[in-house]
């Protein structure tokens, strides 16, 4: 009868540790998703008296790399999409990130009541999209919103088509703009070079009430 070779104690410890590490690595994706969604909340926003364009830039930029979720509005600040590869048009998948109109709504500190034009700070993990779709934004609908001339649209004004909206991060020298936008599941949320300003499908939209 053959006997198996004796494994030294150090090697056994190493193999056990390796097994534990492997199992943790395999479950980390699901774990990250569950940890992320558990943090999303529904508390009331904080009413603010100020709203500056550079603060809005910081707020929107902080959402970069956090992913894109159709109909979403909840993200953390770990610079990664905790739930990537969602199905298109699926609101119910509990993914991380905002969609285009959700990012604009939260960045512009708007109210869920379309008749209110006050400033409401929504923290990143507050899961809210807001009542506006892109067509409503494009029409400048709602007390806080209005249509602006595209040629004069400035920092943190927006360009909206029937199906997409993005905010001007800064104007580029080459005819287009650096636009911060929640673009799509595959491309996520980030600053992209866009020519919406000269695209006839897009109109200019602004937020009333900037204090600086």
């Amino acid at each position: 009868m053959r006997t198996l070779p004796k494994i030294p104690f150090g090697a056994r410890v190493f193999m056990a540790a390796f097994g534990v590490a492997l199992s943790l690595a395999l479950t980390s994706g699901a774990q990250a998703y569950h940890n992320f969604w558990a943090g999303c909340g529904y508390e009331a926003p904080t009413f603010m008296t100020t709203m500056t364009r550079d603060a809005a830039q910081s707020y929107a930029y902080a959402a970069s790399y956090e992913g894109y979720h159709w109909g979403g509005g909840c993200w953390n600040y770990d610079d990664a999409d905790s739930y990537p590869y969602e199905g298109p048009g699926d609101v119910s998948s509990h993914g991380e990130g905002a969609d285009c109109s959700g990012l604009t709504f939260k960045t512009w500190r708007e109210s869920q009541d379309v008749a209110k034009d006050g400033r409401y700070y929504w923290r990143a993990l507050r899961n809210v999209h807001g009542p506006y779709g892109t067509l409503a934004f494009k029409a400048g609908y709602g007390a806080p919103n209005h249509v602006v001339n595209k040629s004069t649209a400035g920092v943190m004004d927006a360009f909206s088509s029937d199906t997409h909206i993005g905010m001007v991060f800064f104007r580029s020298l080459y005819g287009g703009d650096q636009v911060i936008e929640a673009k799509c599941e595959a491309c996520g949320t980030n600053i992209f070079y866009e020519t919406y300003r000269s695209n006839s499908a897009y109109g200019g939209v602004g937020r009333w009430g900037w204090t600086g």
Binding site: G89, D90, A115, H129, G130, L135, H164
Partner: protein, 225 residues
């Protein structure tokens, strides 16, 4: 003391009977007698106590300002006069549905009361959804409108399954019936289960030509995109 107990027990019995009558009255509430435009609604015979909405198709030019007032500025000009528009009149709702000039986007104009006074009557909301292989991926929920009684009014598209000819939406005391027309998704509306968070739930039943139930599903929609 016994007399008092007797009076109390009788009062309780009368109260319980009254509550029962009220409750039974509520559960047998009759369907509405008028549509949003004041017309008398028909009944879809296979579904008892239903209300049949009106639907008709026409060219954009026929609708004139009723069409253009759905858009801001001259945004309506991109739609040609030949654009086929499906107009629907429901109990609390009225809507227009049409396909965009490039054929890849479906639009909805949603009617009702409007809380800000910014839009021309009867429109208070609108929606646009990209078509993928001729179908929407998402119901394009709109919660910007109010019903005449002040309740939030939610609109959404329902994609009919093949062989579906009628769509029914549970409105509590009655079922509102929409005809499937022109190969377009059906813009339905409800005031039930509408949340301020921009979410709404529709209980949707699809029927074939004879009114035979094909599917019944709960459509949970959220404002997106």
């Amino acid at each position: 003391m016994d007399g008092l107990r007797f009076v109390c027990s009788r009062a309780a019995a009368v109260g319980a009977a009254l509550a029962l009558v009220l409750a039974s009255g509520c559960s047998h509430e009759k369907p509405p007698k008028r549509l949003a435009d004041g017309a008398l609604p028909g009944e879809f015979r296979p579904v008892r106590g239903s209300v049949l909405t009106q639907a008709r198709t026409m060219r954009r030019t026929t609708l004139g300002p009723r069409f253009s007032s759905c858009f801001s500025g001259d945004d309506a000009e991109r739609f040609s006069g030949d654009t086929l528009v499906l107009e629907r009149i429901g109990v609390d709702s009225q809507s227009l549905t049409f396909i965009g000039p490039r054929g890849d986007t479906v639009y909805g104009c949603d009617g009702g009361a409007e809380p800000t006074g910014e839009r021309a009557e009867p429109w208070c909301g609108s929606a646009a959804g990209r078509l993928f292989d001729g179908r929407l991926l998402d119901p394009r929920l709109d919660v910007l409108c109010l019903a005449p009684d002040g309740l939030p009014l939610a609109y959404a598209f329902v994609e009919p399954i093949s062989s579906a000819r009628w769509i029914g939406v549970d409105q509590g005391s009655y079922t509102e019936i929409y005809e499937v027309l022109a190969g377009l998704p059906v813009r339905v509306a409800t005031t039930r289960h509408v949340q301020r968070e921009g979410r709404a739930t529709f209980v949707v039943t699809q029927y074939d030509r004879e009114g035979q139930e094909l599917t019944k599903q709960t459509l949970e929609a959220a404002v997106a995109g």
